[in-house]
């Protein structure tokens, strides 16, 4: 069975986010006053697996080993059966 996977990677709460700060300043230049700007990285792929639980376990391992740096990142995993 194939699954669509989405990993959302964000900086841990309280971590400085220079990219978001720059975007917020740029929005202010256009007279948009916004607060609490943040950015997230999204990585998507499809993967073969037996069931959602096993796929989640494998993707979690990918996050720990490569996709995220646990020192600074939080991540969310979304798994859904692949739409044909």
């Amino acid at each position: 069975m194939k699954y669509d996977t989405e990993v959302k990677i964000s900086l841990k709460k309280g971590m400085l986010n220079p990219e978001a700060a720059t975007i917020q300043r740029a929005l202010a230049l256009l007279d948009y006053q916004v607060e609490n700007t943040s950015t997230v990285d999204v990585i998507k792929f499809s993967i073969e697996g037996q069931d959602t639980g096993l796929v989640r376990k494998e993707v979690d391992e990918m996050c720990q080993r490569l996709l995220c740096n646990p020192v600074i990142h939080d991540y969310q995993i979304k798994i859904s059966p692949k739409e044909e």
């Binding site: 400085l16 220079p18 490569l66 740096n69 020192v71």
Partner: protein, 215 residues
């Protein structure tokens, strides 16, 4: 002393490091990232650059290549390992040194000469400097802001090797720009000692990093 200079797609300053190592009296040779066995070498340097285009995070992809297992063997055998700039980011990603070097506070690539304090002279690389000596070396990075959750531990274990003096250009925690592992044999620094290895370059303050390694 035979020293391996690790090369990834996107490495740079590898030839500068080669030259600086020769000046220091070492016998350097290049090593491609796919090589697993580093037993021929007595020390290793990971140079700067933008390995794998800095995709994902600076150093993240280089950190999972076969040569890293060879470097881990070197560490277990007590051989000195130096990571410069991208090399420092790689060592942090691997977890051979604590913390992470991430995006500069001002979101800019910063390329300039900096004043640095040698906080610890217990590593081979800093053994020829006096503790608290002020030296000049250039930095050239966009992701050099040091962050760690274990600052107290770093202080207690004397793992802070280099810090910025007089200014903190990238917003690093406590202006830290060089750290080592607990043993002091793995050293990760953002400034480029090879770019400060001859007076014609503006300073030869960095040469002692290589001389100390060879000593």
């Amino acid at each position: 002393m035979k020293v391996g200079i690790i090369r990834f797609p996107g490495s740079n300053c590898d030839r500068d490091v080669f030259h600086a190592l020769e000046l220091a009296g070492a016998e350097p040779d290049y090593v491609w990232w796919s090589k697993r066995d580093l037993s021929d070498f007595e020390a290793v340097v990971i140079p700067g650059g933008f390995s794998y285009g800095d995709y994902l995070r600076a150093g993240a992809i280089a950190a999972i290549t076969p040569v890293i297992n060879g470097i881990k063997d070197c560490v277990e055998e007590g051989k000195p390992v130096l990571g410069i700039c991208n090399g420092a980011q790689i060592l942090a990603e691997v977890g051979l040194v604590p913390g992470v070097f991430t995006e500069n506070q001002n979101a800019k690539f910063i390329c300039k000469w900096t004043e640095l304090k040698v906080n610890s002279s217990r590593t081979p690389f800093t053994s020829m400097y006096k503790k608290n000596e002020i030296i000049r070396m250039p930095i050239a990075h966009a992701e050099g802001r040091y962050y760690t959750e274990d600052l107290n531990q770093l202080r207690e274990n004397d793992q802070i090797v280099l810090s910025f003096e007089s200014e903190n250009p990238n917003g690093s925690m406590e202006a830290i720009t060089g750290v080592c592992d607990e043993e002091g044999l793995v050293c990760a620094i953002m400034p480029h000692p090879e770019r400060a290895s001859e007076t014609i370059l503006g300073s030869d303050d960095g040469l002692k990093f290589f001389k100390g390694m060879v000593k």
